[in-house]
Symmetry: D3
Subunit: 226 residues, 6 copies
């Protein structure tokens, strides 16, 4: 079973939005995984074949325990019964304690689509009579990570100590970031721009660099850890 699983609508989303945190966890010995929902085949640059290799490299750099591919159609990720059953089956197979999903405010339809899809899948995964293979599994916490929209985070994670590994993991997606600038997120300046974001959250958390997460419901915590 995984400690943390991060859903990535496209192959590089998890590295960009939650990579520092995932690396910190992996370095601390936690079992961390990324599930890519699509192969990113609609992306302007790169091919699915090349991206598979890039993902493998990034996984190695990050120290992931698991990396999977759900094979949904890029650009059409949404909450359907069929996709939810596939996602639920994967949740049952890898059994994550914490699930990290894209934010519903993201502009990209695959991002908010993945958010909505994850809600149905999390429910199905725990339902004994769902037509989903494997043993029922209940995810303990769901956290939302930041894509391309401003969010109102409830949690910040200090990622200063993993800056270099994080940059390397992103740049492993060479087909996306070594070529021409296609958009605000597909650009050779990706690390510099996302580091500015981490610097912003760091300012608010009184550390140098931080990643931001949002929990939609109150989190049960151990007060001694605060």
């Amino acid at each position: 079973p995984l400690d943390w699983l991060c859903l990535a609508p496209h192959p590089d989303d998890a590295e960009i939005g939650a990579g520092g945190t995932l690396i910190r966890l992996a370095q601390a010995g936690k079992k961390v995984g990324i599930l890519e929902l699509s192969r990113g085949e609609k992306g302007t640059q790169g091919t699915p074949e090349v991206r598979v290799q890039e993902c493998a490299r990034a996984a190695q750099i990050m120290g992931l325990s698991w990396r999977g591919q759900l094979g949904l159609v890029d650009g059409e990720i949404m909450d359907t019964a069929k996709a939810a059953h596939r996602l639920a089956a994967t949740l049952r197979a890898v059994r994550p304690t914490v699930l990290v999903v894209p934010h519903f405010k993201d502009r990209h339809p695959d991002h908010f689509g993945a958010y909505h899809l994850s809600k149905r899948a999390v429910h199905l995964a725990q339902l004994q009579k769902a037509y989903v293979g494997g043993e029922p599994h209940r995810v303990s916490r769901v956290l939302l990570y930041q894509g391309n929209a401003d969010i109102t985070p409830t949690l910040l994670v200090d990622v200063e100590g993993v800056q270099e590994v994080w940059a390397a993991a992103i740049l492993a997606h060479e087909s996306q970031f070594a070529g021409a600038a296609i958009s605000e997120t597909v650009t050779p300046e990706i690390v510099e721009r996302r580091r500015a974001r981490q610097g912003y959250w760091g300012t608010l958390g009184r550390v140098r660099y931080a990643e931001a997460f949002e929990a939609e419901t109150a989190l049960l915590v151990d007060p001694e850890a605060l």
Copy 2:
């Protein structure tokens, strides 16, 4: 220095609103304190003298490391420069890491007054040139606890294991809860009614009983503890 300090506008507010959590922390070896802001002299029942003794009993039951009295006027707790300097001096003296304060949505003017007062005091306590005795001190986290309004909590704390101690700590305030029912909060049914509240938050946190807290800004957390 204290690990946690809870501000109580009146002598029994901390026990009622955050008592279970404070007890859990004390039992785990943390240094926990309560600062009463007033003597509750406007309360229909009890006298300041009697309430001092009740507070001492409750402190013992809860295992507090410190209990103080700021001596503001009951019914007139608000954000003034003078009160803020007194509160800041106490913060410097007891040096809490986590500060727990009443919620700004509470109906009682002393509760939202205490909330606003605490913001100024927290700032003054860390300012080197403030006219406040003692060494500057920066509180790491501020959490809001629930009084008599519905809140939107960010954190829940499981308090099932300390139900009996918690009830005893509240009932130590005998002048308030052994007599006639004066209001929704000054009533012999206080434990039963506040336990319903804990049962409600428990339902949402998937435990039996929980206390709810709200953080106004994103909390820097160790992801391994989630």
Copy 3:
């Protein structure tokens, strides 16, 4: 025509979330109905056949004027044109003044699915040229009831006087609540846990037990009734 109609994604949802209010209304002579959207066939315990009988018993206990079954697939309740036409046809047939629907914040996909579905159906029911049988009907008010998420209610209803009837109506769903605890909502402790919730809202409304409802838009009211 019904005065109130409550939509239940699964056979026991209305009793659990809005039962006290529905009973109060029925006892006051109002015509009250429940429409089950699915047979709850994905539930771990109980069979559709058994549950039909349990529903009949609960209806009798509550004093319902009408109870119906829409026959959607459990676990797949969502906003589709087809389901909306079926629901709209039922709305035209039973013609409720007040419609009570699940909350969009509920975790269960069938609950937020039912919420979204109800918006389309309410619209279709009033449209003369919709391909829906029966005479057009306009619902006057839509209220949301609480499922398994924290809500921000606009209305509270005192349900102290119907506690026993309410408990009996829930426990009529014997297949769900007489067996093992399956989840936080499918458990023999259901009445105790939901009563804690009513106690919480009661604390805020200054009564013993209350049910909470949310209106998404401003309610036209008779000021004399306030």
Copy 4:
């Protein structure tokens, strides 16, 4: 005892913001009052002496059971202990069930000042040991009415049937509305402009004209009245 009391920072505020509702209630036999907090002596037009007579006329037109003047300084209405004690004493004297106060979002400092002041006074009025003359009194409901800011109402009241009386009550404040236009609210077009507002809320409530109110906490209601 009054059924409804409306707080007016300046002599004509209640008529403009909540007049239709107050008239409807008075016509239905309810005891309705207005408490002016200041004499409006900072207003560009009119003198306190003239305005007293205008207020008396408006009261007659509206059918008020009571109209009072608290005598605070125009332009300096805020939450102070002294003003709160005076307001609390009046609340104890007239004993309203429903209290209607200005909205905290209003631009005018006297309006949001009155809102904050009312919270302290409502609390003091019910406190047995407060240094306030008269018997303790608990207000049952507090509603906010609209001044010069956009609000998010929870309640709408149909005021189509009292349009003429309402216009007459406003225009009784002749010193304000018969002269030159001083501002958006002190203008001969006052009725026309506020009627547009009522038309807007009417559109949302599916009536011709409505006044809007906001409740800050969930309202305990009789479901039969919905």
Copy 5:
């Protein structure tokens, strides 16, 4: 390329909700267009054939540079991959800088459906590898206009100077507004009622009549223009 494009779920929605602003822009020489998403064939009055002619008249009155019809099914406008591809192709063809869409809070399912559909289409239109004809196009700004729900606008536009043209454009939809009153929006009083709304927003913007728009994300502006 168009400067502004407004999406209308039904033929007259743009005129009613954003007409004044569109007319102001057209009169100032901007290229303004309306895209009708459906023919309004479910409307109680009028036929698609008649409405085509009415639309042409309204376009002439408003001074539109372009008016199109997407041909989706009235009553079934929602976010589907197929509809999004068609809308994206139109966005590529007419290449608007500012896109104005219905509000997600509107009661009418076609309105919030159009909102959700537009998010996917805006994304597809800019994606090089989307299966959409034409050159990729990025919309610069998306604004939401008001339908039948209360909104919280971020922008107001003064429309006093175009009142007569605006009324004429609405009344060009003769089949809807010259007959019997069908609903709050299909009524001969449409201009009077929507003018009340403009009067309301005008009150808040300190002009006579204004239309209200909401931007979901922060707008990049030239500070000199403020």
Copy 6:
């Protein structure tokens, strides 16, 4: 009369939070001013005398048309009638069209104190009978700038082109930023850290660096400028 006036609780707040925008406006020929509310005498570093000279240098670098000092007590800036009259008199004297004020969510009591103070002063400045010298003046727009809290901006301003001037203006406050790091905002890294913030907002506005502002009410805009 000034086009823009920015209120700075302490001498360097305007440069840090809104400097880029103020510089852009000054370079475009607008008349821009800064009003310091206090001399920053509670700051750990620097003396009021030294800071006067630093302010003069920064004003020159930014191209300000006016820079003033209100002389309130550092650490005690709050909404009092006396301070409001002084601020109102200055508003009447310099007559700004746009007023930029600190954000109410800022942690520093002088920041949210300045926000609340400005609301009263803006009102007094326009009131003919206020006991304030000078001719009445109405501010057209009030914008909030970011201090040390996360905000939800409505407007972004591109400040890439003035990066060097902006850095020079901040560093002119040598006593604050050339010495030891005192806090997150009093640190030699100030430019680097605030540039990260601008980079964050830039990411959201699709430019390199942006400053963020919040308007509390809908802004009347010229649609042609969008």
